[in-house]
Amino acid sequence: MDTDLVVRAQRGDKAAYTLVAAQIADRHLAVARRILRDPDLAEDATQQALLTIWQDLPRLREPARFEAWSYRLLVRACYAEGRKARRWAPNLRMLTIDGPISDVGLSSVIDRDQLERGFRSLSLDHRAVVVLHHYLDLPLDRVAEILGIPVGTAHSRLHHAMRALRAALDADARPAVQEVI
């Protein structure tokens, strides 16, 4: 991200913010969709985050850290949308599958379904760590910085989440074995 653009946007330059937002919007939406597992909630969270980023830009003290800060506001918007969903309505919508499955290591659609269910059983705190680390490829110290948590906590959340996802995948195999016996 061009720091000069961020600084101009901080000073209220809407044209500069238009360029900033255009650079981050797609990626933010992708992250929100993966954390929330719901397209509508993800769009609301992204929209809210982009507006909050604009509102709060003058309060960002280090423009060079814009990216981490913007993800932080996005994750907070995801938390807010996630809470609304829990409070007001059950949310059973799944994201669509786009692209091949077999060539990326998934053994079947059932794996994907198990993963989806396993991931949804995680708290938003845990999902955020998984998505930032395994989707955005950010090292855990940067994940910790974005989420405002100690690195040890980020490690702990990732470990817990991956253990839960592994259990979800293994649970798929267990009933079949039991039926044979």
Binding site: A22, Q55, D56, E62, L73, G105, D125, D170
Partner: protein
């Protein structure tokens, strides 16, 4: 059995193959709303000093010192000539009064741990503003250093940044005017009808904390109160999903951003005052991270000391 490496590979590929859509339509909505969305200016400028030359920084630094000296002298003059604190302004939520006063802490015995000790009662570097607040039908006024950020029902402060708060003060009426009390629920005791002393006894046994002080009887704003000081331990991480972000209380996210309190962490300090007001209880909780200096706690205690019920 899936190996750890398999799980990582599967999760990465699963996240990578989720459908992605363009955010153009969201962008259009956001850009349309910019005109109606004013930016929130803060009192500190965006950082630009590192880009300056050393020769440019020196006169600016000297000028800053001179400004601080002039402002400090002016404040001292105001303090000497001022009377009592400014009259608080009424309002349904906490709002600053138009005038700013410099409120000195009242002299209190240092043996009382619920009060600031003389050695920590130094005047603030920032002007102190007077505010009014109403929660659960309880109206009160308070004074606080003006470098604390105002939010609808709490105050936060950060000088480390970039956005994480090092301290927060909030108030509510138990069991919850804000949200539920998951950590208290863990104790398995009824907090719905608990008295001030019941609540004080309950919170000192919450997992993930050790008691530093209390529960102690004290006074806040001329009303009987119970005070507890806790230090958060590593065990809090076991209750990560229920004791966050604030120990005992959650609150709705503040979309305005600013200095945000994300998590209660080991070694945080938690100060709680439960105040009895005509059979209603006011819960005042303040938390500080270890990154907060001693000045934060001094300001928090000064805040409590300034509370007056209206």
């Amino acid at each position: 059995m899936t190996t750890e490496r398999d799980v990582t590979r599967i999760v990465r590929s699963w996240l990578g193959t989720d459908a992605d859509v363009s955010a153009d339509h969201i962008l259009d909505i956001v850009l349309d709303e910019l005109d109606a969305t004013p930016q929130q200016r803060s009192w500190w400028p965006a950082r630009s000093v590192p880009e300056m030359s050393t020769y440019a920084k020196l006169p600016i630094g000297l000028a800053a010192v001179a400004v601080v000296a002039v402002v400090g002298a002016a404040l001292m003059a105001v303090r000497e000539s001022d009377g009592p604190a400014a009259t608080p302004s009424p309002g349904p939520t906490a709002v600053p009064s138009p005038s700013v006063s410099t409120v000195a802490p009242s002299p209190i015995a240092s043996a009382d741990p619920t009060r600031p000790s003389p050695s920590t009662g130094a005047p603030s570097a920032f002007p102190i503003a007077t505010y009014s607040a109403t929660v659960g039908g309880i109206a009160f006024t308070f004074s606080l250093d003006s470098d604390w950020e105002s939010h609808p029902f709490y105050r936060s402060k950060s000088t480390v940044g970039p956005q994480g708060a090092e301290a927060i003060i909030f108030w509510t009426t138990p069991p919850s005017a804000v949200d539920h009390i998951p950590c208290l629920d863990l104790l398995g005791r009824s907090v719905q009808s608990g008295s001030r002393t019941d609540l004080g006894r309950t919170i000192v046994s919450v997992a993930g904390t050790k008691v530093v002080v209390g529960p102690l009887d004290t006074m806040v704003g001329g009303r009987a109160a119970t005070f507890v000081e806790l230090r958060v331990t590593n065990q809090i991480l076991d209750n990560a999903s229920v004791c966050q972000p604030g120990l005992f209380y959650r609150w709705p996210p503040d979309d305005a951003g600013g200095a945000m309190w994300d998590l209660t962490l080991p070694d945080d300090t938690v100060l709680v005052w439960i105040v009895d007001i005509d059979e209603k209880l006011l819960w005042i909780q303040a938390q500080t991270h270890v990154t907060a200096g001693p000045g934060y706690e001094r300001e928090i205690r000064r805040f409590v000391d300034s509370i007056a019920f209206t």
